[in-house]
Amino acid sequence: MTAIHVDQVSKMYGRFTALDGVSLKIAEGEFAAVVGKSGSGKTTLLNLLAGIDRPTGGRVEVAGTDLGALAESELARWRGRTVGLVFQFFQLLPTLTVAENVALPMEFAGRIPARERRSRAIELLAKVGIEDQAGKLPGTLSGGQQQRAAVARALANDPPVLLADEPTGNLDSVSGRAVLDLFTRLNGEGRTIVIVTHEREVRDVATRRIEMADGQVRG
């Protein structure tokens, strides 16, 4: 089954072409690493998959949903339920505790009953190995711990697709390795994972490598 289908997608920023007729399919359960030089269009591609950006032309379908058919508010709701996002700079809310950050997407999606959210957040934190940090504010955690918390948050609503933009780019090698192990485990559970990266280690653990250059998929 196809988890992600990108069909003849282009994206222009003014006169600059960030993506030029990109087409690709990613099957359910694949662990894809999108690689390429800076400016090759890989982050743009990830933003289109997450519904953060809209293509100038073409069609993007993720987990069976045509993203072009969704309004901005519907996209937000879809994102909360269907994809988990992990960013290079973690993007945790500094005024909520780690556990609260993880529980937040559950509140927006409303799938998990309110009384179970806290315990599920703790479970997810345990899964990424930082349950002892649950009550702390993100600012007091190390970079690796924050990124693990961000991964736990991405798993909050048990999304079938995880999208990560340079998830190890801001971490030391030990922390980066631990985060990659985590993604490998999650992929082992059957989740589709797409990671945009420069890192060689990521390429090594991914099951598929998508090479981009000048806004096009080269391999």
Partner: protein, 781 residues
């Protein structure tokens, strides 16, 4: 709203408590100003009416040529429409106290029958007893202060044409039906007597037409008994003589207070906008994990609602207390009234609470909506950076050019900050211009009447009598007669108040070549020798419900004699006293008597208060030696003080509000610059990283603040002119014609305050920016 968003909101508020506290203070201060004036207006308006009504002011006063007795009064009381009656008399006396000097101010003395039950035009005895013992006089409480006398003091008074007689002050009365003695520069005395030439009527109802009809019927009844009624006075029913003035003052102040509140709410919306800018990354992240715009709208709306609610809660009591203090002061200082009831209608409380909560929310809707609609992509791209790139000053270096470029990069913020300062500046300068207009009006009034001492005499007097008196530079002999609009066969009816000043009308005979009257003509021409039936009338006069025009015929009763005048000119005096100017020969023809002056207008060599007072004494001495009795000798200084008394409260309040507006503007700039520094933390870090010293970063931020201030000043110029013109126009219609004045001092003050204030206000953020380490700045997410 989700529980965690509420938790986030609470912690965001806690994290930004300084800024939130500033917002609460700003709204609170604005609301205190607004509610104070709103409540004050209500309280003062009600208390004026209540105090004035409590004196049972006469609906009408009939002035008779000869005294009447109690039997006549009993007959009047039985006439239809008459509820009650009283016999009274009054005169303006000279007076002298224990120091033996005749006072410049007259003592307006009201005469009552010993057995008068005081049901009509009553007063309250505060000290002593009524009626006073034989030889006693009671003085109005404010007049006691003005005259500098005390209970028990001897007081020598001299009626016009009469001999001095010495009374003793045996008590103090409070008479709130009269304009305060200090405003009018006169004293008020209360005595008993035996001869009365005034019949006062209380009429059921408040319709002036009906009161006039009843009074005319009474007049006809008196005429039928051989009595001559010279004039019927029907002042506006139950309206204190200063009611209109107070309405104008409180209306203007209320407008400014409301604007100040809106400005403060606008400032809060700006501060909130800054806060929201910091939250954009959070908003993006929340959207990335599934939050919709509507969801994110809610906590920020709740935040501003709570800020407004807390500010309202904190401001409510101070507003109430300030209104009580302020209205008490206005009533005491401007109206000589006691504050007895401080309640306000419930709807005003509701309006204040609603305004405190709703207006900040309404003004914040736009920035909140904008922030909540931020897309994930916009949030990811947000680094607190430029709104738009600019080529301004491209290729040039230096802090100044860099600051200018930074300003034009952030056009939205620049527009908000400079706009806020411009609105503050507009209101400040307009308030100060109105202040200047009032001062200009006072100065113009002085220029229009270049008289230093006004001397009234009991008998005929000529200018020659005081020529050569030391200190006197010039003198003209005038005559003033009370007059009233007249209709053939009808008794004249005027709107004159019992003080015989407010609402009254005078016919003033002046030499056509007078050098002491320079009133601007709006129509026609000034008097010429030989004009025997010509009159120059103030434009505020009306005939048949419309303003007078050149060519109109003015029918006036002078002492019961019907006279007719052609209006040849219309003039515009600043503080018109209801006058028409005619030539001496014209007055002689109209009255059928040879012209005799009883008013000397004196200019002095020097115009300081001391010189005027000395000249007044010298003139009086000279006239006494010539056998002419002086009834009053008033230096110009007293007139100026009286005008100041009328203006005092308004000018003080305008100044206070203008100051508050300036403060709000500078606080706004400080808040905006603080936001800008926080947003640009990363940028300052980069500046440090490439070698910019702390001083350079500090100067850059200060320069941006100063340039914003300068732009705010520039933007305020045209709106300030427009608002000044609009206010001047409105006040001129409601109050007195005001000259258009631009207060250069106000503009310079505003410029200096804003520029220096801006530099000081941004110094804190600038220092913070200069102390940021490269690591701190670049680590900021």
């Amino acid at each position: 709203m989700t529980r965690l968003l509420l938790v986030k909101l609470a912690r965001d508020v806690s994290a930004a408590k300084g800024r939130i506290a500033l917002m609460v203070i700003v709204i609170g201060v604005g609301l205190v100003a607004f509610s104070t004036i709103l409540y004050t207006r209500t309280i003062v308006d009600r208390e004026i009416g209540r105090s004035y009504r409590a004196t049972e002011p006469a609906s009408a006063t009939l002035l008779l040529r000869d005294p009447v007795d109690q039997a006549v009064l009993n007959g009047v009381r039985a006439l239809p429409g008459v509820r009650d009656t009283a016999l009274r008399a009054q005169f303006d006396a000279r007076w002298r106290g224990a120091d033996g000097r005749w006072s410049a101010d007259p003592l307006q003395t009201f005469v009552y029958a010993p057995g008068d039950p005081l049901r009509v035009a009553r007063f309250r005895v505060e000290q002593g007893t009524w009626p006073p013992p034989p030889g006693g006089i009671l003085i109005e409480r404010v007049a006691m202060r003005v005259m500098g006398v005390h209970v028990g003091d001897p007081l020598t008074i001299r009626e016009p044409g009469g001999a001095p007689r010495t009374l003793r002050i045996t008590g103090v009365v409070h008479d709130p039906s009269l304009a305060p003695a200090d405003n009018e520069a006169k004293g008020y005395g209360y005595v008993t007597g035996q001869a009365f030439d005034q019949v006062k009527l209380l009429v059921d109802g408040e319709d002036p037409a009906m009161i006039t009809r009843v009074a005319r019927d009474v007049g006809a009844w008196l005429r039928a008994r051989g009595l001559t009624v010279e004039e019927i006075q029907v002042p506006p029913p139950f309206q204190h003589p200063h009611q209109g003035q107070m309405n104008a003052i409180t209306a203007v102040v209320l407008v400014f207070a409301a604007l100040a509140f809106v400005l403060s709410s606008f400032l809060v919306a700006t501060l909130l906008g800054g806060l929201l800018t910091r939250h954009i990354p959070h908003i993006g992240m929340l959207k990335a994990v599934g939050a919709s715009s509507r969801r994110l709208f809610q906590p920020y709306l709740l935040m501003i609602f709570l800020i407004g609610a807390v500010a309202t809660l904190l401001a409510f009591a101070p507003g109430v207390v300030a209104a009580r203090l302020f209205s008490g002061r206005i009533l005491d200082r401007m109206l000589n009234m006691d504050l007895t009831d401080v309640s306000v209608p419930a709807w005003e409380n509701v309006a204040v609470v609603a305004a405190g909560v709703a207006i900040p929310v309404l003004l914040a809707l736009a920035p909140i909506t904008r922030a909540a609609r931020t897309t994930v992509r916009q949030a990811l791209d947000h680094h607190g950076g430029a709104d738009r790139a600019t080529a301004f000053g491209k290729g040039r270096g230096g802090i100044v050019l860099m600051a200018l470029r930074n300003l034009t990069r952030r056009r939205t913020r620049l527009a908000l900050s400079a706009g806020l300062l411009a609105v503050s500046g507009t209101l400040f300068v307009a308030a100060m211009n109105v202040y200047a207009s009032f001062q200009g009006a006072i100065a113009d009034a002085g220029d229009q009447h270049s008289v230093d001492v006004e001397v009234r005499t009991a008998g005929p007097v000529t200018a020659a009598a005081v020529r050569g008196v030391p200190g006197v530079a010039g003198v003209e002999a005038w005559r003033a007669e009370s007059a009233a609009p007249a209709e053939p066969g009808q008794i004249s009816v005027t709107a004159t108040y019992p003080d015989q000043g407010h609402g009254g009308f005078r016919l003033v005979a002046v030499p056509p070549d007078t050098a002491m009257l320079r009133v601007p003509l709006t129509q026609g021409r000034w008097l010429r020798p030989g004009d025997v039936d010509a009159a120059v009338v103030n434009q505020s006069r009306q005939i048949g419900g419309r303003p007078v025009r050149v060519g109109d015929t003015l029918a006036l009763s002078i002492g019961g004699r019907l006279t007719s005048w052609h209006v040849i000119g219309v003039e515009q005096e600043v503080f018109p006293q209801g006058s028409a100017y005619v030539t001496p020969e014209g007055l002689a023809r109209a009255t059928g008597r040879p012209y005799e002056s009883d008013l000397l207008m004196v200019t002095t060599v020097r115009h300081d208060p001391g010189a005027r007072a000395a000249a007044a004494d010298a003139v009086e001495t000279a006239l006494s030696q010539a056998g002419v009795q002086v009834t009053s000798s008033t230096p110009r200084t007293r007139y100026d003080q009286a005008v100041d008394g009328h203006m005092y409260a308004m000018l003080a309040v305008l100044l206070a509000i203008a100051g508050a507006l300036g403060l709000v503007g500078v606080i706004g700039l400080a808040g905006a610059m603080s936001s800008a520094v926080i947003e640009r933390t990363r940028e300052f870090g980069i500046l440090h990283a490439i070698g910019a010293p702390a001083g350079a970063v500090r100067r850059l931020v200060v320069a941006e603040g100063v340039f914003t201030a300068l732009l705010g000043c520039l933007l305020a110029v045209v709106p300030a002119l427009a608002l000044t013109a609009a206010l001047r126009s409105g006040l001129s219609r409601m109050f007195v014609p005001l000259p258009f004045r631009m207060s250069v001092a106000a503009m310079v003050t505003w410029f200096a305050v804003v520029v220096v204030g801006a530099a000081l206000a941004v110094l804190g953020p600038a220092v913070r920016a200069s102390r940021l380490t490269v690591r701190d700045a670049l680590a900021r997410d």
